[in-house]
Homo-oligomer: 415 residues x 2
């Protein structure tokens, strides 16, 4: 008998019929001899409807009250799910954030979980009931209702799984797993059977929007095995390669035959800004990135080469395309403090990232990419590297070609 | 400085614009130097929408989960109200049943309040904030969410007023007070300035659907002065007779010039059943009303005359018109146990009730009614009396005529 946490997102509980499907799936898991804890999001569209109502009342709504309103979405869906399980002949009970209780800090709309009490969940399970926990919500030490931010139900699920020592945390979503790259770019993209937390963190933050980054971090810290699956697949489905459906996110030790490269992520929503002939002296990076942070502009890649003459250097960084003009203005305004001769940039750029834990022990992985792209006459504007990934900035027009080239290069096309 | 509880029902908070109106009214009360606690219902239609959703999921939904769902209506409106007050430049904070906390028994969907902790309300008021309490909901000793039944927000308001020792509990609704009778039946109906708890209990349970009966009982027990007012009147409005707007429900000692008769209530939704030649022996009433209670049929008037021959008597009672056929079936089925010769009845009947604390000390009040109705050839089918009211069962066709006749007879037409 295993202790299983199953999380279902908004589209998976978006209608009464879908809620019933989830109920049947949870009961099938229970019937197979497991104890089941469900974590549910609000029905799709509900959170937006509620927040719109709050904004209709006042332009800048107080965040404490926003959370009181937003939390009702998950309150309703958790109780509906308990009812649906009962309607299918099973036993279930809903548990809200303050009932579980999921204690958070007091940062309304973006609270972080501090502790989770397991006793109410265990007493529910011991009665043979399925515990249906409202995702996304918690309660602070004053008894005020808090929420965990967009996608917070993933974090609820992994945190609950960690707190009760679940054997696995299954995240059901509208895709059937994590892919080597976007299947819309190349039909050769394959589902990854197992991926390490570290790789998933890189993939998730780079645009593979399968689950909330925080939940992967939490899984890594508490070693919670996370299984990403489609809620629309039949439970018994096995993929053509004989793998169980979905993708397991786990410790790298669990992954026997580590590939050198696990996946290729990309983002077209990038803009590049280059600050030319910056004085090569201490404090200059702070003079550039301090004002950008103050303006709430998120900087991604940062490339600074070693100065050739010991006096000046060029500094390149990327920002979200939507913030391009604002970022240029910020840097122009800070020109005196920074001290540079020229400012240029481009918005028609894309970032391609190659991710793989195997890179650590395989030299020349990036070099292969440079050659392959050169053969296709794809110019590389900038390069950054880390232990388990490297990212390349290229002209946006070449995005698909570059992804397909690298996907083949690292043999991700092969089953 | 007074401590004021103001309760607003579903129509009073039915739209964003109306919520803002309530916010302004509460702020005006606060600006006049008072401490204000608001109790709010769900936005009109919201509770029905939520319960329909639950019924869509399963035909006989579990009541614990129903309450989790239903309570979100007031959760949303209390937070929206706090936001609206903030939007008008004021300070406010929402408080849910489990936050206040309003401790109830565990009877889901019809819980009764046991205790209310005042500390969270007081600490909110001490910060200069308006406390916006979600009506209708509480929490039981297990931390489960409960609701108080339809119209329960009135009860929340009076209970909170009692718990914090408020000077007055204002119930804002879509009518501007309690009337001597239904103004649709006679334009001569007048608003009652003051009415005793006992009279209001009789009027409320007889169809003057201004506020929940339980809230009046609670007000009587804890001596909470309840002010019924319209949320659509301007706060400063004084009625043509120089009275403050609305109706004050209070102890009879507060009512100086007690009228003999305070109001005339009526109900057309009645059916009469007569059980003929019942054996006049102990236990026969139980044999009739036991099975009706088991069938969940609510019996209202019961009339049994003293047997003339010491052997048999006729017994008449009324039930809601919708239960008429079912009640006949129940009695027919129990014929052997009851022992009667004939069963008859009628659905085209109405009950007229004359209410007034002054009746206690004025003989012949009912006799006047009998004469006045006889003059108009209105036949009285049955009569019941109590300390402060008497009720007459008549043909439904004469309802309006009877109400108008009695309204004039007891000088309720006069200002």
């Amino acid at each position: 008998m295993a202790l299983v946490v199953q999380k279902f997102g908004g589209t998976s509980v978006g209608s009464v019929e879908r809620i019933r499907n989830v109920a049947r799936r949870a009961l099938a898991t229970q019937a197979a001899g497991h104890q089941v804890v469900l974590i549910v999001s609000a029905m799709s569209g509900e959170t937006n409807r509620l927040l719109a109502l709050a904004h209709e009342v006042t332009r800048l709504p107080d965040e404490r009250e926003m959370d009181v309103i937003a939390a009702t979405g998950e309150q309703v869906s958790s109780a509906l799910m308990a009812l649906a399980i009962q309607g299918e002949g099973g036993r279930a009970r809903s548990l809200l954030g303050h009932q579980v209780k999921i204690l958070t800090d007091g940062a309304f709309t973006k609270a972080r979980i501090r502790t989770i009490e397991g006793s109410k969940i265990f007493s529910t399970l011991e009665k043979g009931q399925i515990a249906v926990v409202a995702g996304f919500q918690g309660v602070d030490e004053n008894g005020d209702i808090t929420t965990l931010g967009r996608g917070g139900s993933d974090t609820s699920a992994v945190a609950v799984a960690a707190a009760i020592g679940a054997n696995v945390c299954e995240i059901y979503t509208d895709v059937d797993g994590v892919y080597t790259t976007d299947p819309n770019v190349t039909p050769k993209a394959r589902k990854i059977a197992r991926i390490s937390y570290e790789e998933m963190l890189e993939l998730a933050s780079l645009g593979a929007k399968v689950l909330q980054v925080r939940s992967v971090e939490l899984g890594m810290v508490h070693n919670v095995r996370i299984f990403v699956r489609s809620s629309f697949d039949p439970p018994e489905k096995i993929d053509p390669h004989g793998h169980p459906p979905g993708t397991l996110i786990c410790d790298e030790g669990e992954i026997m035959e580590q590939q050198t490269v696990t996946g290729i992520a990309f983002s077209r929503d990038e803009a590049q800004i280059s600050v030319r002939q910056v004085q090569d002296k201490p404090g200059v990076a702070a003079a550039i990135f301090g004002p950008l942070a103050e303006a709430n502009i998120n900087v991604d890649m940062i490339v600074q080469n070693v100065s050739a003459d010991g006096k000046t250097t060029d500094l390149t960084f990327t920002v979200p395309a939507a913030d391009y003009q604002r970022a240029l203005d910020v840097i122009a305004k800070a020109k005196a403090a920074i001290g540079y001769t020229r400012l240029d940039g481009a918005t028609d750029v894309a970032k391609i990232s190659v991710i793989g834990i195997g890179m650590r022990s395989h030299a020349g992985v990036a070099a292969q990419a440079f050659s392959a792209l050169a053969e296709r006459s794809i110019n590389i504007r900038a390069i950054t590297t880390s232990e388990i990934k490297f990212s390349l900035l290229i002209d946006a027009a070449f995005t698909e070609l570059a992804v397909r080239t690298l996907h083949s290069l690292y043999e991700l096309d092969k089953a």
